[in-house]
């Protein structure tokens, strides 16, 4: 164990080595010229920037290797700006490195700690003046002050109440109900049972009553994915099987994990993949989760056909769609 006494001694700052510009006046002049050239280049780049902004049309394209067709206005404006800034920087740094004094300077540090006498004075001052305020003695004041300051913090919290409505049952409701027709997204075309071949998918939304505008909030709860398999592909219990129609099955498109749209259907494996966190759902088993962080299958929408053969919902969803929340019971 090395102790302080036999440690190697500090040889002190190394001797200063002069730069060429310190010794040779020609080198110094050259460095000065180099700095000046850099600053002038910056000015020229500013000219390029302003020229590009004013005179290069925004729809001009120029072909460059690697980058391909590039917007000339954007490119030269940007390179001009970059150059005007960079050359000032390079000039300033080159100036500092070559011409400004580069002898290392030593300054002393002072201990952060205040002098003992200052610390004692401080403590004394605080004690005396706190004493005159009387907080220590006047417990009535102390407690009532605590009360006032404590409760006033509640006001800003309460005043934020109108940030939004209470959720109530909104997380449990969608626009789907018995008899709602399935329509394509986009396009709003109703879907006939013969429109889908085996292996086909369709992005669907519920048909809204005439005159109602579809909002993004609607899409966020109502989006459904329709898939057609062969009926023998299903491995469902009888209830869930009755929610399908001739091999056509419908699931909520809103991922049960964190709400991304699950629309990636692998036709051969019959799996659904959510691209956000890679949760994988098995369509043949009612969107059971087979990989990834989702903890629940996608809610299935019970569908059937109306008397013209168009696909309709038998009922709304039997559970809340989308990500979980505290009040969700399953």
């Amino acid at each position: 164990m090395s102790n302080e006494i036999s440690k190697f001694s500090d040889p002190g700052l190394p001797d200063h080595v002069h730069r060429k510009t310190d010794i040779d006046p020609k080198a110094e002049k050259r460095a000065e010229q180099q700095v000046a050239i850099l600053f002038v280049l910056s000015a020229l780049c500013t000219v390029l920037t302003i020229y590009s902004y004013l005179f290069i049309k925004t729809d001009t394209f120029v072909f460059l290797p690697i980058m391909g067709d590039t917007n000339a206005h954007q490119l030269f404006l940007g390179i001009g700006l970059a150059g005007s800034l960079l050359f000032i920087g390079f000039g300033a740094v080159h100036w500092a490195k070559q011409l400004m004094p580069d002898t290392e300077v030593v300054a002393l540090r002072h201990e952060m700690r205040s002098e003992d006498v200052d610390r004692e004075d401080f403590v004394q001052t605080v004690k005396e003046r706190a004493g005159t305020a009387g907080l220590g003695r006047r417990s009535l004041i102390k407690r009532s002050l605590g009360l006032a300051v404590g409760v006033i913090g509640l006001t800003p919290l309460v005043m934020l109440r109108d940030l939004g409505p209470l959720p109530k049952k909104q997380l449990n409701t969608t626009s789907w109900s018995k008899g709602t027709r399935l329509v394509t997204d986009p396009g709003n075309k109703p879907i006939h049972v013969n429109d889908l071949e085996v292996g086909a998918v369709a992005q669907v939304l519920p048909e809204l009553p005439a005159g109602t505008e579809r909002t993004l909030e609607n899409i966020g709860t109502d989006a459904v994915l329709l898939i057609r398999l062969r009926p023998e592909d299903f491995q469902l219990d009888s209830e869930r099987l009755s929610w399908t129609h001739e091999g056509i099955i419908a699931f909520s498109k809103i991922c049960s994990h964190m709400g991304c749209a699950v629309a990636l259907y692998e036709q051969q494996t019959k799996h659904l993949l959510c691209p956000c966190h890679q949760s994988t759902f098995d369509v043949t088993r009612a969107a059971k989760v087979i990989f990834g962080p989702a903890a629940r299958p996608l809610p299935q929408l019970a569908i059937t056909v109306d008397n013209q053969g168009y696909l309709v919902a038998q009922q709304g969803f039997t559970e809340p769609i989308g990500p979980s929340f505290w009040e969700r019971s399953s």
């Binding site: 080595v17 730069r19 060429k20 510009t21 394209f61 690697i66 980058m67 391909g68 067709d69 590039t70 917007n71 954007q74 490119l75 940007g78 740094v93 490195k97 070559q98 580069d102 394509t184 997204d185 986009p186 396009g187 075309k189 879907i191 006939h192 013969n194 429109d195 889908l196 071949e197 085996v198 292996g199 086909a200 998918v201 369709a202 992005q203 898939i227 749209a261 629309a263 990636l264 259907y265 692998e266 036709q267 051969q268 494996t269 799996h271 993949l273 691209p275 890679q278 994988t280 990989f291």
Partner: protein, 268 residues
Amino acid sequence: MNFGFKKVANYRRHRFAAPVLIVVALISLGTTFSVASALTGGAHMDGAEQTTLVQEGKEIFARGCSSCHGINAEGGGIAPALVGVGAASVDFQVGTGRMPMADMSQQAMRKRPVYNPEQTAALAAYVASLAPGPAAVNDAQLTYERDGNTAQGGELFRTNCAMCHNFAGQGGALTQGKYAPTLMGVEPKHIYEALITGPQSMPVFSDKVITPQEKLSIIKWLKAAESEPNLGGASLGRVGPVTEGLLVWTLGLGILIGIAVWLTIKAR
């Protein structure tokens, strides 16, 4: 062989003799192989007594496809039955080079087609003759410039295609090593045929769900995206923040640290 003032044989102990010989051997072997396969790969159009396209297709099928798909296209261990897949499927799979499949990995890759357009048409005709299926499309039928709407195509693409093929058609990952390929540089007819036949993992997009006009819009949008120059500069692959982050750590911070080193090094 005489090269003038020095015979070739005099170079036999040159230190480059061995490498040169190896290169010559490789080139000869390669050339022989490609010439031979070009010769055999070509259909015996001239030596045949067959007349109809279907017969021709049947011949090519027997030679190049039946080992996996069965002599009557009834399917085999790993290859599906082709009865009913239609000329469109064949035109797509063979025309994009996916079939014949090079290695039996997760999925068929787009590559240089083995069969020329005539042979592809023959195969398609043969498979179409087995059972009714979607008909092949040709580019002249795809009047997407006139009948497609780019903005509508983009909306349709983002709703129906981007989840697999990415927002700019650059492709994306599926499970277990499968992938949705890039859509850049794909012929319009192959895009259309893929939509109606649903190759491998891709689902089918029926004409009533995405109408033919809507399909033309999707193609028009894809072609616009393909030809659209990168408006902000080099595109970094059009795959999003991953490549942007990589660039900032390499080029961005890298350059800045390099400059900081220059800045603090003592001048000579």
